[in-house]
Symmetry: D3
Subunit: 139 residues, 6 copies
């Protein structure tokens, strides 16, 4: 495995553009709203999220978008206190083709590792997202 420095340097100019497209594709309008909300206080932070999280990380091969969302849901559930980000990324999970049942299953899978309280908090966010999309009750 050799570092992709040379290759990616060639694409450096595109990091922002590639990231912005990726963010819109995955997070949709919810993601755009996060970036917009930073304009009056920390626009560079929005730029870093676009460039690093989406232009670099989400644009990598090896794992597909659905696998990446499972990982994202797990890390956000585990951290606790990241309900706003869970809200964005549960929407994103459905956007990239995970079913509501798979989203809930990913959260439940965390329970032996991180305990019921954080899992309940994450399910509660999923509930809000599914309501917004008219997906409840799950059959």
């Amino acid at each position: 495995m050799t570092p992709s420095t040379t290759n990616s340097t060639g694409h450096e100019d595109n990091r922002y553009e590639r990231g912005w497209n990726k963010l819109k594709e995955i997070d949709g309008q919810a993601g755009e709203r996060v970036i917009a909300s930073l304009q009056n206080i920390a626009p560079d932070l929005g730029k870093y999220i676009i460039e690093y999280a989406f232009g670099d990380i989400y644009s990598r091969p090896t794992l597909d978008p659905r696998q990446r969302q499972l990982i994202t849901i797990s890390t956000l559930t585990t951290q606790g206190g990241c309900e706003p980000q869970l809200h964005v990324h549960i929407h994103a999970s459905l956007n990239v083709g995970l079913t509501p049942e798979e989203v809930v299953e990913a959260i439940i899978h965390c329970s032996p590792y991180t305990g019921f309280p954080k899992v309940l908090n994450a399910v509660s966010v999923a509930q809000r997202v599914f309501e917004e999309r008219g997906l409840l009750p799950l059959a």
Copy 2:
């Protein structure tokens, strides 16, 4: 989605057995050693891990074993201080068919969410596991 109480109650007697088989299938000898290490101090804890984590959770449908390991790696990386459990579950990830590259990719994917330090600690455990299996360097 109706609760699976009735069904699973029918299988209650098998929770321990089902969990033990699942643990051996996924975690292999490393998992068995964790359970064995509890015998002189907290055997019931071993029983709960077998029954709840493996008999209940890992035995559920909706997500396959490779998806479950991606989620497990993410929650353990994010918590921090769970290096012994990461060691078991990176072995488990390879046991169920994830490639070393996918394991590393799952850890790297956590970096925008949980930061570089915990990601570095998890990669360091992966490095140890891959060395134990003669998989380094990744090409």
Copy 3:
């Protein structure tokens, strides 16, 4: 200490029932509401909370219900972001006979270990619970 596999297997059929009774005894209506809120999205998660947290763990001997609530308050205070669960379990603590002063003392005892911010957040939840029960001001 031999594992209680055999014994508890004999009681396996009763885990859900035993847990449900324990949950109602300790958490009261607040606990029932948590389970009910999961019905349209993750009823199995409610089942696991009943069976594992209450049927298995809270039903164990060695520590009495008041000791268990002190431990629960400590772990929830320490995790942070578990205000909804603290709300349920501070009610539960009073239900099983802890005094409001003991609840507050348990939270204050965490301060050298977990710092003032999480302790303040937990006291704030206690304040809400005590108001709901007409217990303020503490004399």
Copy 4:
């Protein structure tokens, strides 16, 4: 470095007074409100915050108030779930002379270490504080 036991013992009687003055100087009315809110439930906790956090720690030499606020913002951002305390301490940071840009920069600096979600949550608190002070948009 010899322990300052003797010296500080001489000042022991002043810990509460010194802390109270320091709290008012740094946190201002927001800090006083935190202490006041504890009167009906845990007044001793307020006393400990005054004596230990402000009378002991914030009154130490070696680091100046602006350096201390940078550290405080970093630890509160990193813990997650400490939005109420961040609110108090971002006000405090401005009170002791940090610029809004320095506050935001301190939060952004945490991003490679603690990830974007907690950083976004902290920026969101900063946004609220800056709005309360009429400081937005940052130019």
Copy 5:
């Protein structure tokens, strides 16, 4: 509940002495070693631990030493990465009269709240302490 400012101010001179005696009573030589280890780098930190954790908090009424150790074990288990402090406080728990079974039970009780990994790490510390005291296997 009125703040105990006046009373405790009268005892201020004794905070260090009272704390030091309490630390020796509860933590024993392990606690003294922690303080001694700070002498060449941060003696004031040792002083604060003695004065605040032991002179103020552990010296409070309302909860007895065994209840306080249950809470301490829970907060340390939950934080993760506090194995050295768990080592000291599991010794302390036995010093104040908790049985090894109660210590293990307190740790197991955290499992529905904080997950198995941190619980396993804490049991592993308990195992080391019990071995040092010749208490294994638990019968």
Copy 6:
């Protein structure tokens, strides 16, 4: 505050180079060893640390290197389990001109926020770094 997209895009090609120089300047050989250790398993992760943490974040204006290290020490102390990274960054703190006393003070300042255990763990790393540099005892 307008986003620095255009400017930094112009410098995109230099992110890696600028980051590498910054990493060597701040973290010195300890930082280089971290990057080197990733070559056989996750070289891209090393690249991201260089580009994002050092090329983007540490290269920003508004806070100087000593202020940034105070923030870094605080976030690493607070997270817990980041002892290897604390080791690198306490060395880095001395490299950029913080005194050992300021490093210890930054750690102690976290104690009211994050509690004594994590503070003790961080002081213990500082002790190791200061020993490696022959700086103990602090006078």
